[in-house]
């Protein structure tokens, strides 16, 4: 199971990196979204994987054994919300850039004027 999660994180990171390096705002935003999935999963993984033991005291499952580490979960929750705020901002900024620069290239270049 751990290998699957590691694989998922790896694929998300790799694809996120690839998309972030594109030259137009939309794929860059997609890449950032993928990266935030990746890092959220990673942060979550620092609490290790526990199945069926949500960190809620007194629930039926809690009696069965060690509960999941609640701290990474709290961190991920914070990270998700912050990531949401940032993503929203960058989406709007890309709209503004589209309006002000006349195109959606990350450097505001006209199509065809891109470099290698």
């Amino acid at each position: 199971m751990e290998a699957l999660i590691a694989l998922a994180i790896g694929v998300l990171t790799g694809c996120g990196v690839y998309l972030v390096l594109r030259a137009h705002t939309f794929p860059v935003v997609l890449g950032l979204t993928l990266l935030s999935y990746a890092v959220n999963l990673f942060l979550f993984a620092t609490g290790r994987l526990v199945i069926g033991q949500p960190p809620v005291i007194g629930s039926a499952a809690a009696a069965l054994g060690q509960l999941a580490d609640p701290l990474p979960q709290a961190l991920v929750l914070t990270a998700i919300v912050i990531g949401f705020a940032m993503t929203a901002f960058v989406i709007m900024l890309s709209l503004r850039a589209r309006a002000e620069l006349g195109n959606d290239h990350v450097d505001g270049r006209q199509e065809g004027g891109t470099q290698s």
Binding site: M1, A3, I5, L7, A8, I9, G10, V11, L12, T13, G14, C15, V17, Y18, L19, L21, R22, A23, F26, P27, V29, L30, T33, L34, Y37, N40, F42, F44, T46, G47, L49, Q53, P54, P55, V56, I57, G58, D69, P70, Q73, A74, V76, L77, I80, V81, I82, F84, A85, M86, F89, I91, M92, L93, S94, L95, R98, A99, D107, T114, S116
Partner: protein, 541 residues
């Protein structure tokens, strides 16, 4: 003593030239015929202008003729200070008899006069060499053509203003630094923690996630397709959270996912539907290689983390959640109590983001789709209308969604839920209206600005935190546990609930306010650019 002759000889040679140029100074300026083509007719300067020169010239003569009486004492103290020791015997007398010094002077004077008399061929020679060895020209060439041009070239070569380059540099730096840390480690990558068995559903889910991610990347130029795939990825991530005992995360992820995708969809409305193929083959390979390294690095790190036994401060939270924080949902207790300050900061981020977006979108005219659904480059725009059935259902769902969000807000401290999730659910419910009914309809029914909600939420969080000061406790201390306070002694249970609730309510307000502010203003921006187009995007019911 081998080079003892050097100085006297040099002094004599220099003396020859000194006499010559002094002679020239005198002869050329004051004699040697008449002035040639002067801008003014010279005459004696104002009286007082000459006084300083007179004083200096008199000093020259005084020192020259009566050195012992004039300059000697000053010279003695100055030279003593220079040597920091006893003064050697010296003698400034004018006449020492016939000495080498006298001969030097005679040679210099005679030589100088001769040199001056024979100056014409020398001048001719000099005029031919003029400019060949101009130190200033060399200096400026070095500075202007060398240093400055090089600086410009260097700076321009680095600083191309390309985001791709900057991002690549950062990613490479992070890879190098992180890699160097990991690779030099003494232990093997795989740790000792026993692994969980793989079940079929998980395998399918993981494969789905990997496939969707890769597909989204491969198809990223078809923006809508990529977006839908990304949404699928987000769903699977939420499932991962469900599977591995993180219901709060799953709920949050789901709701954030919905809002994000909606925002991206809206953004796509204003952006071209497809990305032109703009990067070269080599660039794609380079990026692919970086992505591969980054991906394997992240996977390796995750693998290393997941296979190592856990040893952290987590147990304390589980142990203290009920007794210390008064809540059974430990994640929520951490968020609103143990680490409430993080949450405090996080809602601030959300609030500022909303304000920033509000400022960004103000007066912005977005070039949305025109009637023929093509942008100037003849790329197609999305032209879907709002389906009636969705509009109707969304409106019906609204009260229900609000009810659910209230429920989730209230139970958050003890069961999965809380201010964030509740706030996002509320916001989603409202966004649904937006999506389903269009800008105008929603606008007529929602407040134009949600600033008061944001400000109120922040203020509520602040006041809740500051309230503990009145009990002599640090900021954000939850009310739980203040049993000793006599005048609220019997209200402890209720009070504890109120403290956490108030903070969470603040969170809720900020989340709802911020999310709505963003959406409303996106709508406004759209309106501003398409005053006449409203009908096309609105379904009349």
């Amino acid at each position: 003593m081998r080079f003892g002759w050097l100085l006297p000889v040099a002094v004599t040679v220099a003396g020859v030239f000194a006499v010559a140029y002094s002679l020239r100074f005198i002869h050329d300026v004051f004699f040697n015929g008449e002035p040639i083509d002067l801008p003014r007719t010279p005459h004696e300067p104002p009286r007082w202008m000459k006084v300083p020169v007179e004083i200096l010239v008199v000093l020259c003569l005084l020192v020259g003729i009566f050195p012992a009486q004039t300059v000697e004492p000053l010279l003695a103290v100055a030279a003593t200070a220079v040597l920091q020791g006893p003064l050697p015997e010296h003698d400034l007398a004018l006449w020492h008899g016939v000495s080498p010094a006298l001969w030097m002077s005679v040679i210099a004077l005679a030589g100088g006069v001769l040199l001056y008399l024979g100056r014409r061929p020398l001048y001719a020679l000099h005029d031919r060499l003029e400019g060949r060895l101009d130190a200033r020209a060399i200096f400026e060439r070095v500075l202007e053509n060398g240093v400055l041009r090089w600086a410009r070239r260097f700076t321009a070569a680095f600083d191309t203003g390309s985001l791709q380059r900057q991002a690549a540099l950062f990613i490479v730096s992070a890879l190098v630094l992180g890699g160097s840390g990991l690779l030099l480690a003494p232990a093997p990558l795989t740790g000792t923690r026993p692994l969980l068995p793989v079940d079929g559903v998980s395998l399918m889910a993981a494969l789905a996630l990997v496939f969707a991610t890769l597909a989204a990347t491969a198809l990223h130029r078809q923006r809508l397709t990529a977006l839908i795939l990304i949404g699928a990825v987000g769903l699977v991530v939420a499932l991962v959270f469900v599977k591995f005992s993180a219901p709060d995360l799953a709920l949050t992820q789901l709701s954030v996912e919905v809002v994000t995708i909606v925002l991206l969809l809206l953004a796509l409305y204003f952006l071209p539907q497809t990305t032109p193929a703009e990067t070269s083959e080599s660039r794609r390979w380079r990026d692919g290689a970086m992505a591969l390294v980054a991906g394997s690095g992240a996977a390796a790190l995750a693998w290393a983390v997941l296979t190592r036994p856990v040893d952290s401060i987590a147990a304390w939270f589980l142990a203290n959640s009920v007794t210390g924080g008064g809540g059974r949902n430990v994640v929520n207790v951490i968020l609103v109590d143990f680490r409430g300050f993080d949450t405090f900061g996080e809602i601030t981020v959300l609030a500022i983001a909303a304000l920033g977006i509000f400022a960004l979108l103000e007066h912005l005219h977005l070039p949305g789709p025109t009637r023929d659904f093509h942008d100037p480059l003849r790329r197609a725009w999305d032209a879907d209308l709002h389906p009636v059935i969705m509009a109707t259902f969304a409106r019906l769902l609204l009260p229900l969604a609000l009810l659910v969000s209230a429920f989730i807000l209230l139970r958050g401290h003890n069961l999965p839920g809380g201010g964030f999730i509740a706030g996002l659910i509320t916001a989603i419910a409202l966004i649904m209206q937006y999506l389903a009914n269009g800008v105008a309809w929603t606008h007529a029914r929602l407040p134009a600005q949600t600033h008061p909600l944001i400000a109120g939420g922040l203020l509520l969080a602040l006041l809740t935190g500051a309230a503990s000061w009145f009990f002599g406790r640090p900021f954000l201390t939850s009310a739980f546990g203040h049993v000793n306070l006599p005048w609220i002694g019997q209200w402890i249970g209720e009070f504890e609930l109120a403290s956490a609730m108030a903070f969470d309510l603040g969170v809720y307000c900020v989340v709802v306010g911020a999310t709505l502010l963003i959406l409303i203003n996106l709508g406004l921006a759209h309106h501003a650019s398409h005053p006449g187009d409203a009908a096309a995007t609105e379904v009349k019911v």
